[in-house]
Symmetry: C2
Amino acid sequence: MRLLLLQLNPIVGDLPGNAGKIRDGVTSAGPGSADLIVTSELALLGYPPRDLLLFRDYIGRSLEVAGTLAEDLKGYPPVLLGGAQPNPSPIGRPLFNVALLLHQGKIARSFGKTLLPTYDVFDEDRYFEPAQGPQILDLKGVKLGISICEDIWNDADFWKRKRYHSDPVQELVRAGARCLINISASPFTEGKQQLRERMLSGIARKHGIPLVYVNQAGGNDDLVFDGRSCAFNASGDLIARAAPFREDSLAIDIFQDTPAGIHPDDFSPESEIWNALVLGTRDYLRKTGFQKALIGLSGGIDSSLVAAVAAEALGRENVLGVLMPSPYSSEGSVTDARALAGNLGIRTITLPITVIMDSFDAALREEFSGLPRDITEENLQARIRGTLLMALSNKFGTLLLSTGNKSEMAVGYCTLYGDMNGALTVLADVPKTMVYRIARWRNAMGSNPIIPETVFLKAPSAELRPGQTDQDTLPPYDLLDEILHYHIEQHESPAEIVARGYDPGVVYRVAQLVKAAEFKRKQAPPGIKVTDRAFGTGWRMPIATGEWDLNGGT
Amino acid sequence: MRLLLLQLNPIVGDLPGNAGKIRDGVTSAGPGSADLIVTSELALLGYPPRDLLLFRDYIGRSLEVAGTLAEDLKGYPPVLLGGAQPNPSPIGRPLFNVALLLHQGKIARSFGKTLLPTYDVFDEDRYFEPAQGPQILDLKGVKLGISICEDIWNDADFWKRKRYHSDPVQELVRAGARCLINISASPFTEGKQQLRERMLSGIARKHGIPLVYVNQAGGNDDLVFDGRSCAFNASGDLIARAAPFREDSLAIDIFQDTPAGIHPDDFSPESEIWNALVLGTRDYLRKTGFQKALIGLSGGIDSSLVAAVAAEALGRENVLGVLMPSPYSSEGSVTDARALAGNLGIRTITLPITVIMDSFDAALREEFSGLPRDITEENLQARIRGTLLMALSNKFGTLLLSTGNKSEMAVGYCTLYGDMNGALTVLADVPKTMVYRIARWRNAMGSNPIIPETVFLKAPSAELRPGQTDQDTLPPYDLLDEILHYHIEQHESPAEIVARGYDPGVVYRVAQLVKAAEFKRKQAPPGIKVTDRAFGTGWRMPIATGEWDLNGGT
């Protein structure tokens, strides 16, 4: 029983384009390439389609396109195609999340998803009705157990807590499945592939049958899909793995027993996150129709790393660095930014902002007369820079990348409508300490370091007033990132974090900053998710909230 | 059987404050005030708590606070208190959404929610496990059927399509309930109370038992809760209704048969939406700790209406109007804005932006040399104004209200980081045609019109280049708003709207604009929801999407 797994990079909503990719994948493999060809979850629609699913005509058209694709692929092996179907019952959610079987020129059957993830970035209960009963495809006398993504993530022996009452995999095995096929759209987070492989291996071994897993590749808004489709034999050994972070296909025989075609992979956090940022940035521009990006270069570590990611993702000729020195900018901010740009081979322009600062000061002089300078004037500088960057973006049709990192997004150490401006915040889910680690890793890749050593050595600073450093107002980043990890990713209260031994004054102040910055994050650009808990579509906090555990430190 | 309904305005997360409100409501009514006191859904936590529910310590503390409240209220009637409890099972979602029964100094019991709304702004499957079986409270020999919000919204005879397979109300009746009590946190949309009353009346009549409905009041971020708790006798007649858009309490005897205490209500769309905007604005400021607001006044209808809402919500002494004329501003923009401010009695300041525009032009002259002026220079003006408004906001601790309406948010006729700046977009869910209707209605309220007649008569214009009007680039607003209604609120595709008889060129162009503006809406401030389908927490569209029905017009 030979399978061909198509690990493709669909564009959400692009029905003709996605169908074309699948058609090409099938026809280029040829009529005798496999007994079954398998795509990823919702491959025809692109994952996640989100509220596009509420447009009935979109679903109708997707099924028309699937029908045409079936006709086009008559004479080729049957195809399991990820798609959506209306729920014909007058009761329940409007749709099913399905694998459509294209066979002999028609949509022959469909196999539904049972477990619908509704947590973090997932909202599937919003759209889909759960399928009932085991979804078995009998092909050439072999019972194949079909599951879709989440269906395989509820194994009682693997998880301490089960989110769902049923285990579709167990039902498939009980119904006589001789092989498990899971079609997925499983977003990347750091370390997740190792978790997937351990879990999938365990399931194959436990039930003593082979398991095949097909994942999507590519970036869609805040989510990056890392591909790495794979297969395990009945003993739970990995026998095949597709490439990470790009399209690929994988031909396997499900009853083969020995490894064949395991794409090598580097599971280091730095390389994984780097690859996710590059793919997420490249696809965000490509899928929104942009070729070029611009970045405000401050000479700091964040904008340096973003420029390096952008140059890798888009080509150095498509990246513009903009230097916007003020009277508070250090000498190094200009020299370091220029050195970085020289190393990357990207073009820069320099637009000093002093005259514009003066014009704002003059306009506001009367209203502000007698009042001390404060955060207002600091924000003004950031907003002047943000406005200049947007003017360049508008005039030249160049997409602005924002350079904030997760630590500063968390505590609000960033200016709304200023340095937060941009279509995509590349590092939004990368803590400051990880920014440094990835920058070091990147510098060690080539023969010559890209990011100047002085960028690593200087104290982080927004340079919005004389002698300012981040640590004037924030705890050291290694401490800050630890506290943020417990609070943001583990949902621990300040009291719980203090109980771990951290200083209450610091912990409660950080928690207060996180709460106070919620209004900024609500207006932030999308960021690329790389951790289990990113700000963005999976972070749904209210803004106008009261105190329940923020006063303990005072 | 006497009930006291507490229709309160909680602050999300403010456990001590919310408990204090409930304590005050109970103690001020007195020990013999009722046989049972009933609060709204999640009254202790405030609705919607969203991802605060993922913080385990928050849930733990809420139950501690509930326990203390029970002790404090020993000697008073039992209280049904909306709250959340951990799911003790190792399988399923982490929490239950419950009504806690505070009785004789303890949390005596809890009654769980069965149907968990997961559509539009609701995400309850994200947090809650459904309760099983009828939730009956036997009180003084009377079986009371307890349901929570959505539980009562699945009546087979009322809805064409049922979202859920079970009907908890029917189960309660079968289990012998003699009265139905529904505790809710049901957000306002225009016309919804009339729908609620028809539905609730029908359920009471169908089952031949009285029905009591308790709703939350107040604004929480994008949602406004309109109160209007009410009761129906066994014939389905309305016998009591609490005040709209504010806290209230309602004492009823569930077996009383004749009307008593029906708060009069005006169900006109203009008055309903006006009241929602006023309450939403007032509570957003109060609950984020602001007293004062500022608004950019352009002399147009949108900023005029926002200023009127703000003056009503906050008091005229707490509203500042800022005029920022440019060389492209009409004479009327200044005179109309001043006349409006005079009528409202709000203070204004005037900050001309020409010198700042010149300083940006100078900074960009070299880069832009030889290129024609375009949207870049228009956006620059809007961003200079947005930056000035934020400088005033920062310096004086005054909250900036954004003045965009739903029609322009839909088609992107607004500048990101410019006129979109602000903490709250008051009219974000009000179509332009409704903005005019509400403004007319408001003018007819007092003895003298607030908004100058010239504001109604002039052609809508952003005044960002000489002689510009909105209709240079947009279809007339009455036509635009119709198309947007079908596309945004009814989820119709362009092809479906064209089939209604609209011009394909216009429809496809509008749909293209809506799609292209998604990246702006992702970065927009919260807006106050008044329709069934608002941009914001209930609008979850992908950004980087392909074409599925946007080319038909070309």
